[in-house]
Symmetry: C2
Subunit: 495 residues, 2 copies
């Protein structure tokens, strides 16, 4: 397909300066508008070595307000990057709503060049799926995504590398790798074509740029960007008027859920006496410590997600788990309402940011399920957003599992009477009063609504790779031991 491009395309030199200036000015005005409308933009600049990616980016940003765009130069992943799911570093670079991020090379270069030789077909296919997830989630979320591939012919590439080498100031920019890639032009052509074919989709289309002639390339890139921004602005303004939902609800054919009890079916009168509890807790602690040690050496990450009713005992349960662990190998992540910065990103962004490194255990005290529970019920997000969230969450967890993580999700369940009892104790015990707020009482009034949402959440996100476990927590001792045994079981199964 790249070979089919008409590489003879060119723009006249005459009047070019004026044309370019006009394009740049148009873009400047559009930048202000997308900033005000809070439309985020991601521009991917891919292409051959010496195809002019850097210069193109310079021209794009020439007249832009530097406070509202960032340029990221994507080198091969660092050793630290490699301790996380590979897409994490790109997630972390997503611009805030209203800002623009320009990628000088991207996840595509990583796949087609940096890692290409090292990954088998199965892993490659997986990664293409993960790219699809990423791009779909951000475009559903309102991001404008523009992907450019700057194509030059082999002859042109040779000419350019030679020119760079001939000048003192630019010689250092030509590396051995550049010449190696040049010699294997054919092989890379095939890889690039495959990459483009696999990832050319609605909302995330590629624009191929005939870049032998710089002026033509510049004209085409600018026109495409200007066009896309105009469309996005129009869509957003129309949306504001009609409050139409964005994003499509996607059916998750490849996500298989497993049956799980509804909350009302859960038998809560489980008991565990103090003596048995102490003995079992000590035994669990010993096992957890040793298992974590082995997981650490094998670099297997563990993600433990805690949700549950207010006062169900999340804090105490988590503490009993971490007490046995080496403090250098785990983190507890308390999840509160999102900050302003977090609200100006896709809802999963902050959880990508909180992932453990391989070999570490991350314990989430509340989780990414906030969107389908509190945010849904309190109206902090639109219906389209929380409905879409089920699929986004399932895919997020799938990706973590493909990375190699052990994922367990716990719903700490108590009944309404038990909650009342605990609330009252908190109210009446001075050193516990800080644990109870008016909000807790307000949430309690919506118990039935929450129960319905939780049932739906459990049913729609109970997958094999990231199963839910309902923990009967009227008796705290029973709850803690059940939780720990489940964790131990999952770790042993893996090792």
């Amino acid at each position: 397909m790249l070979n089919d491009l008409n590489m003879k395309q060119r723009m006249d030199k005459e009047h070019w300066e004026a044309v370019r200036e006009e394009l740049q000015n148009k873009l400047t005005v559009l930048q202000q508008r997308i900033y005000k409308l809070k439309i985020p933009v991601v521009i991917v600049m891919e292409g051959w070595g010496a195809s002019g990616k850097g210069g193109m980016i310079s021209r794009l940003i020439y007249n832009l307000d530097p406070r509202h765009f960032s340029v990221y130069s994507i080198d091969p992943p660092s050793p630290d990057d490699k301790r996380y799911p590979w897409m994490r570093r790109f997630w972390m670079k997503l611009p805030t709503y209203g800002d623009m991020a320009i990628f000088d090379r991207s996840w595509y270069q990583e796949l087609a060049v940096y890692e290409a030789g090292k990954l088998n077909a199965h892993e490659m296919a997986r990664r293409y799926n993960q790219i699809e997830d990423f791009e779909r989630q951000i475009t559903d979320d309102g991001y404008v995504l523009l992907k450019f591939f700057l194509h030059i012919t082999k002859g042109e590439q040779k000419r350019r590398l030679k020119t760079l080498e001939s000048k003192k100031e630019t010689r250092w920019r030509v590396t051995k790798a550049d010449w190696m890639h040049h010699e294997q032009y054919g092989k890379y052509l095939q890889r690039f074509e495959e990459m483009i074919e696999q990832t050319d989709r609605m909302g995330a289309k590629w624009t191929l740029i005939e870049a032998n002639n710089k002026r033509f390339a510049t004209y085409k890139v600018f026109s495409t960007v200007i066009n896309a921004l105009n469309q996005a602005i129009e869509a957003k303004e129309a949306l504001a008027e009609q409050n139409r939902p964005t994003g499509q609800i996607r059916t998750s054919a490849d996500i298989v859920t497993q049956p799980i009890k509804r909350l009302r079916e859960v038998e809560l009168n489980c008991e565990l006496d103090e003596q048995t509890y102490k003995t079992e807790l000590a035994e669990c602690k010993r096992k957890l410590f040793l298992l974590h040690n082995r997981l650490y050496q094998k670099k297997i990450p563990v993600i433990l997600a805690f949700e549950g009713w207010d006062a169900a005992g999340k804090g105490g349960n988590i503490k009993r788990i971490t007490q046995g662990l080496d403090p250098r190998g785990y983190e507890v992540i308390p999840v509160a309402a999102p900050s302003t910065l977090e609200k100006n990103h896709p809802h999963l962004w902050r959880f990508w940011n909180a992932l453990p490194r391989d070999g570490h255990i991350a314990v989430f005290d509340r989780t990414w399920y906030g969107r389908v529970m509190v945010e849904h019920i309190e109206g902090f997000c639109t219906q389209a957003q929380w409905e879409r969230a089920y699929d986004e969450i399932n895919r997020f967890e799938k990706q973590l599992s493909q990375w190699g993580a052990i994922i367990l999700k716990f719903w700490l369940h108590i009944d309404k009477e038990e909650q009342l009892k605990r609330f009252q104790v908190r109210q009446n015990t001075p050193e516990k009063q800080y644990k109870i707020t008016d909000e807790d009482w307000r949430n309690r009034e919506k118990w039935d609504e929450y129960e319905k949402a939780v049932d739906e959440m459990l049913a729609r996100t109970n997958t094999r790779q990231a199963p839910w476990m309902i923990i009967e927590s009227n008796n705290k001792r029973f709850a803690r031991i059940k939780t720990q045994k489940a964790i131990i079981q999952a770790m042993e199964d893996r090792l």
Copy 2:
């Protein structure tokens, strides 16, 4: 001094469990209190290999609320760490007010073990000074800093390494480096002693722990922590009543400032005609691009700090600089009011976070001088805080300069009439209205107050390593060219 410790100290095994539990419970209660009082705590756990640092930390955190402490294991600096000032990674790990950070090894291990052989005496002395700055700034800011050194004898170390090696589960934890260090026990003893001697100061005292006996060591560490927290709580509560300023104003004998004009002495009627401007701008752009290229190769970082009156033209000035640069080598950092997270850290924390990597240019659109200007005048910080800030800022910049950075600070100066003219234009031009707010008008009313604060700021922080330059900005063309020429000059001087 380590050799003088009485290494025979021990605690009886009898009742030990009960004693330890009591200590842990006391600490739990204290943790809740420091959290409520927003007292941040930094605990440094240093010591020999196999001296029990990890176990000690486990016992410390055993019963703590995991949402309010973090444990950091400090390995040798990564390649990425090495692209920043060496203390940056520790600055970045400072706990939020009310939280606790426990360092398993720290900046001390980095100096005395990881980097010791590689640094000359001059650089070592510098780094000790930088440690002093860091520790003084955070304790002035209200952090409780506790530094422990776990000392064991050579014989005891050997026994412990052998024991670790004898068990299958722990064998992997003993490395070649551990045995190498053991063999050079004498050399490291000397280094550790020097390190302790150099950095044992009021407010940042070392506590040496006789750690041959684990129970004794545990008892001493816990008692010290409990004691210090109690004192800090008492001090903070007394403070709340009397609103006494914390921290001492430090005289900066080693910071030399240079004379600079007062704002009223600055002649503002500088002019530059359009044609000369265009020619000079093009020439500056060419030079800047080439110079940046060379700085990039030599890995020299550049920090450009912009302050000035509202509407003085910071944005336009900055844009003219960046337009000539390779977008992959610079960042513009717009500085707004601090976020909640930033407010819960020392005021310089967010600027440490925004430092460029070596070879990059960071352009700050407003800076760390907010504390002595807007925060001072609007009463967002106490008098003690902004008075202390002059010294903190000078030391911050000194450290950046020692790291190798070129630092230039620009005050964009206009007079009151010019500001009024520009405000009115903004008010009356629809596409510029977003640039003018009520706050701008309010600030304008305080012009004289600001002028006084700026004069003091310029006088007290105009150092050789980080000079201020007053840019006459009534004429924007003149201002831009003067700024760029100054940058070019500084770069050429360095190369």
